[in-house]
């Protein structure tokens, strides 16, 4: 499901720190952090470790050895708050790396955009579940944590078919009413974004 021929579908890559950047901030969704992933971060970020800060959002209490300085944040909302706190003074030469599920990646990216990060300063790496954030094209509500190809809209209750069309601004996939033509005829739900 990560492969699609729809152009708006983002492509995620392994994080590759840019050595010329002045500061490096790695924001990790804790529940997706596996020992293998931590080892991959340790080797990728080793060279820039003196200028690396890691924000670990939730997840394991005991992380073990890691490069850079580690900060713990309780939730995604704390990341958004900390980013928008202007006194942190993010510079134009800094880089932001985000690792986690898609809803996590795009909410962090959006918050970073608000404080002036350019898309060229941000790298996104997918880890963990494929669950989606869905934007209802009818009532414009967001439904989080969708794992099935058909989901109920949290706003209007319509049965939405989760498309592959992706909005970077909303960090969400488009959901369109599945039974618009024949009301009540809703195909069986399948777990496709586990």
């Amino acid at each position: 499901m990560m492969i699609s021929d729809i152009k708006s579908r983002p492509i995620y890559r392994d994080l590759a720190p840019e050595p010329t950047a002045s500061g490096h901030l790695l924001v990790v969704e804790g529940e997706t952090l596996t020992p293998a992933l931590l080892a991959a971060f340790a080797s990728a970020f080793g060279p820039v470790a003196p200028r690396l800060h890691i924000w670990l959002v939730g997840g394991p209490q005991d992380v073990g050895a890691h490069p850079g300085r580690l900060w713990r944040l309780g939730s995604l909302a704390d990341v958004e708050d900390s980013l928008s706190c202007a006194s942190r003074g993010f510079g134009i030469g800094d880089r932001l790396y985000v690792s986690g599920t898609e809803p996590f990646l795009w909410r962090v990216a959006e918050a970073a955009g608000h404080v002036g990060f350019a898309s060229g300063q941000i790298q996104l790496h997918h880890a963990g579940s494929l669950r989606r954030r869905v934007w209802c094209t009818h009532c414009h509500s967001i439904t989080d944590d969708v794992t099935t190809h058909i989901a109920d809209c949290a706003g209007c209750g319509r049965h939405l078919l989760v498309r592959d069309h992706f909005s970077r601004r909303l960090g969400a996939f488009m959901g369109v009413m599945v039974d618009a033509e024949a009301p009540g005829q809703v195909p069986a739900r399948e777990e496709v974004f586990a």
């Binding site: 510079g91 134009i92 030469g93 880089r95 990060f117 350019a118 898309s119 300063q121």
Partner: protein, 316 residues
Amino acid sequence: MIGDTLLLRVDAATAIAPTLRHLRLVAADGGKLPPASAGAHVQLSLKAAARTHRNAYSLVSRPGARDAYEIIVRRVEASRGGSAFIHEQLAVGDTVEAAWPGNLFPPVRTARHQLMVAGGIGITPFLSYLAEFGLSGASHALHVCCRPDEREVFAPWLPEGANVDFHWDADGHRLDIPALLAAQQAGTHLYVCGPAAMNDAVIAAARDAGWPDSHVHCEHFGTALSGGEAFRAFLARSGIEVSVGEDESLLEAIERAGVAAPCLCRGGACGVCATPLLEGDAEHRDHFLSPTERESGRLIMPCVSRARSGRLVLDL
């Protein structure tokens, strides 16, 4: 007045410094001019005795002004011809043909902070930026590197409250470019316009400080070197061979031969002059072709690029 060209009349011409001439150009028919935005330029056709020079100049008039276009022209040593013509021959009342104004260097209006670095006459595009930022209230800073005696020259174009710093080559007054670039907040856009060496130094310093390319902008106008070793070029479609002198560009030689070649910036930035290269080894000096296009050796930008060795054959 819709058309390819505008006919302008020189309404006023003033020497604002020994090497700087300010021109106020109005529509020859007394009508209104097309409006231009901050960072825009106008390309003039200057009919000198030997040939027509087509040079582009940044507009320093207020963005959107329709009564007149104002430009400031520096008399360059070893002039490419156009600036000498403006300084020595153009007089009040003369008419000049011009292309509609274009803009290859507009400010990014979503920037959180606008950081401008100018070298000498490279201040001109930023004079219209400052006029816009004065109105929009955009956060900005302009750093100008010039000779100490040039500081006052541009004062009439600096809006009140504009954030401008002058730097010159003396202890305590030099601009520390790496320090300036290291201390900028996220969301800042950098613009640089000056001599080629300065542009290159600022762009390199920005890279070293980790700036994303998307936030670094350079006006290459007339700053790319067009001279070099003399060489010959054969224009296959016209069946003409031209010789390109040491201090003229391939484009100028083509124009001298009377062959019409499209162009706009004449500085290797806009891409308008791209010409198929049929044979020969080009020395690419433009900022337009991608590395792959350069390697393919099939295109050349005659406004700045030359032959590395031997003869070039162009599809012109």
